[in-house]
């Protein structure tokens, strides 16, 4: 804790580099993945003075505010920028940190919360507060500012468009994954610890840590032959998939061709198609565009009507091509997210 370290003056703890782990709009899975590095978490605690990790321990934002600029050595930010509070804290941590790491899919490309960018703020609040599954007879909605007898209270305001961390602050490194695989987290942290000890090179700015530079297909053990797809199927429509052959060749929309490797191709190994949680492969500007190019190349149809019939097998193209990457895509959102709906 920073307060303890500060009061002890120049103790060993105070000399350790400081680490902050902050979750913005996230599910907490990234924090679980960090803890899941098992006994290495002790090495992390030995190597760093953990000044903030709200999921795991107490820590005060006021302590962070009181720090000098760049006092924190590394900040891991998981989660996307959903409210003005998360944006504020991301900017605060950026100012106080030497290195900011975009940790996990939410921070890096929006992830599942980013699919909210297909809806307007009004539609999202209607779904959350006014659908039949919500017991809300008085139609109560959150208000961002409330005049209480003691003073004005503020709730974090829901922003119209969810953003990725690098759309809000400067990001030094990215660790992809939903969540990042624990062995990869440790590998990335170890590289940084070594660099701090002077026993290893510091990764170049902008580097993607804890992942490969190719695609999931490269890591996938399934056999690939000539890809020709005359029909897309959904996983529940087929009783048995061949365990040896590429899932895409069997008609299952698998996102492997566009997705960065590093996960070990765990999903296709158990006949589940890759859904793209490790984000865009090296050099890919727009994840969905790469995947569309790959799918369209292997569809076996020449006439527009035939092509349409095959493409009907992908009923939700936005969800298929941008499940994890909508907020970080070239278009960033659907139109309704940024249309003013008066909410």
């Amino acid at each position: 804790m920073s307060a303890a370290a500060g009061s002890n003056g120049k103790t060993a703890a105070a000399a350790k580099p400081k680490l902050a782990i902050f979750g913005a709009a996230s599910c907490g899975g990234c924090d679980v993945a960090i803890v899941n590095i098992h006994e290495h978490i002790v090495d992390v605690a030995n190597a760093f003075d953990i000044v903030l990790w709200p999921t795991v321990m107490d820590g005060k934002y006021s302590d962070i505010e009181a720090m000098a600029d760049h006092e924190i050595t590394i900040t891991l930010v998981s989660g996307s920028m959903r409210t003005d509070e998360t944006v504020h804290l991301a900017k605060l941590l950026r100012r106080k940190s030497k290195f900011v790491v975009s940790f996990g899919s939410c921070a890096s490309e929006g992830c599942i919360p980013g699919l909210a960018n297909l809806s307007s703020r009004k539609e999202i609040l209607d779904t959350a507060y006014s659908t039949t599954s919500t017991d809300n007879p008085d139609g109560i909605r959150p208000i961002w500012e409330f005049q209480a007898p003691e003073g004005v209270l503020h709730l974090p305001e829901f922003e119209p468009v969810l953003r990725t961390l690098d759309q809000v602050v400067d990001v030094d490194y990215t660790i992809p994954g939903c969540p990042p695989e624990s062995n990869q987290i440790w590998a990335a942290l170890e590289a940084v610890v070594k660099a701090l000890n002077g026993t290893g090179p510091l990764p170049p700015k902008g580097a993607v840590l804890g992942a490969g530079e190719s695609t999931v297909c490269d890591e996938c053990a399934r056999k690939r032959d000539v890809k020709k797809i005359s029909k897309f199927v959904r996983v529940q429509q087929v009783a048995h998939f061949d365990p040896e052959i590429c899932l895409l060749e069997q008609g299952l929309p698998c996102n492997g061709p566009a997705t960065r490797n590093g996960c070990g191709a765990l999903c296709p190994a158990v006949s589940a198609p890759c859904i793209g949680c490790y984000g865009a492969a090296e050099g890919v500007i727009d994840y969905g565009a790469r995947l569309m190019a790959a799918y369209a190349s292997v569809v076996e149809a020449m006439k527009p009507e035939e092509i349409d019939k095959v493409l009907d097998g992908i009923p939700d193209p936005a969800g298929q091509f941008y499940r994890f990457s909508l907020a970080g895509s070239l278009l960033r959102s659907g139109r309704s997210a940024w249309q003013n709906d008066g909410e």
Binding site: E65, D69, D84, V87, H88, K91, L92, R94, R95, L118, E157, E159, P160, V161, R163, D166, Q167, V168, V169, D170, I285, D286, G288, A289, R290, M292, A293, Y295, A296, S297, V299, A301, M302, P304, I307, D308, L311, I314, D316, P317, A318, F321, S329, L330, L331, R332, S333, G334, R335, S336, W338, Q339, N340
Partner: protein
Amino acid sequence: MSTQAPVAPAPVEGAAPATTTFEPVIIGFTCNWCSYRAADLAGTARTKYPPNVRLIRLMCSGRLDPTFVLKAFSEGADAVLVSGCHPGECHYIEQNYKALRRFQLLQRTIEALGIEPARLQLVWASAAEGVRLANEIARVTEEVRAIGPLNWPAGDIVDLDAVDLSAAWEATGGDADGPPEAPGGVNPDHAAGSLPAAASQPAAATQPAEASR
């Protein structure tokens, strides 16, 4: 933070004021072997087509990466025209079928994201069809003019301090609230490689979003 809400565009129908006609920006991807030569032929034959289209030559319509189309939309294009050899006449045997399938898949995806499918059009034109290509460009231009500007605000949701942090720090003098919200951001990925055609547009016609801000 209402300042971060991207500015909504004018209503789509009848958006153009009566005094100034809306001039859509259309990025046209043409094939080296047919449609680019058709455009060339239209030029030598002095056949006029609307200057709204900015033609970019590819070696084949099959070279069309969907990224090009999305980048065009995200950086201010109102429509994208893809043009290649007629089916069966591809210089590279069958790559124009690839273009056709990408086009159909892209149309479905942009529709799911709220972009009118008519903003992405496919026209086959052989090297001899200069007049036909000119007519098709005119047709697409009028269709897009009727739909109105796209004004996709993708760049606006990025803070300027994401681009140059040190400058942003200096601007705030260490204020804990961070730099003031940028009125419109620039995607650092895009700054270096913006569409060359878009840069040459008259500001009033091509950047209505900028003008209204």
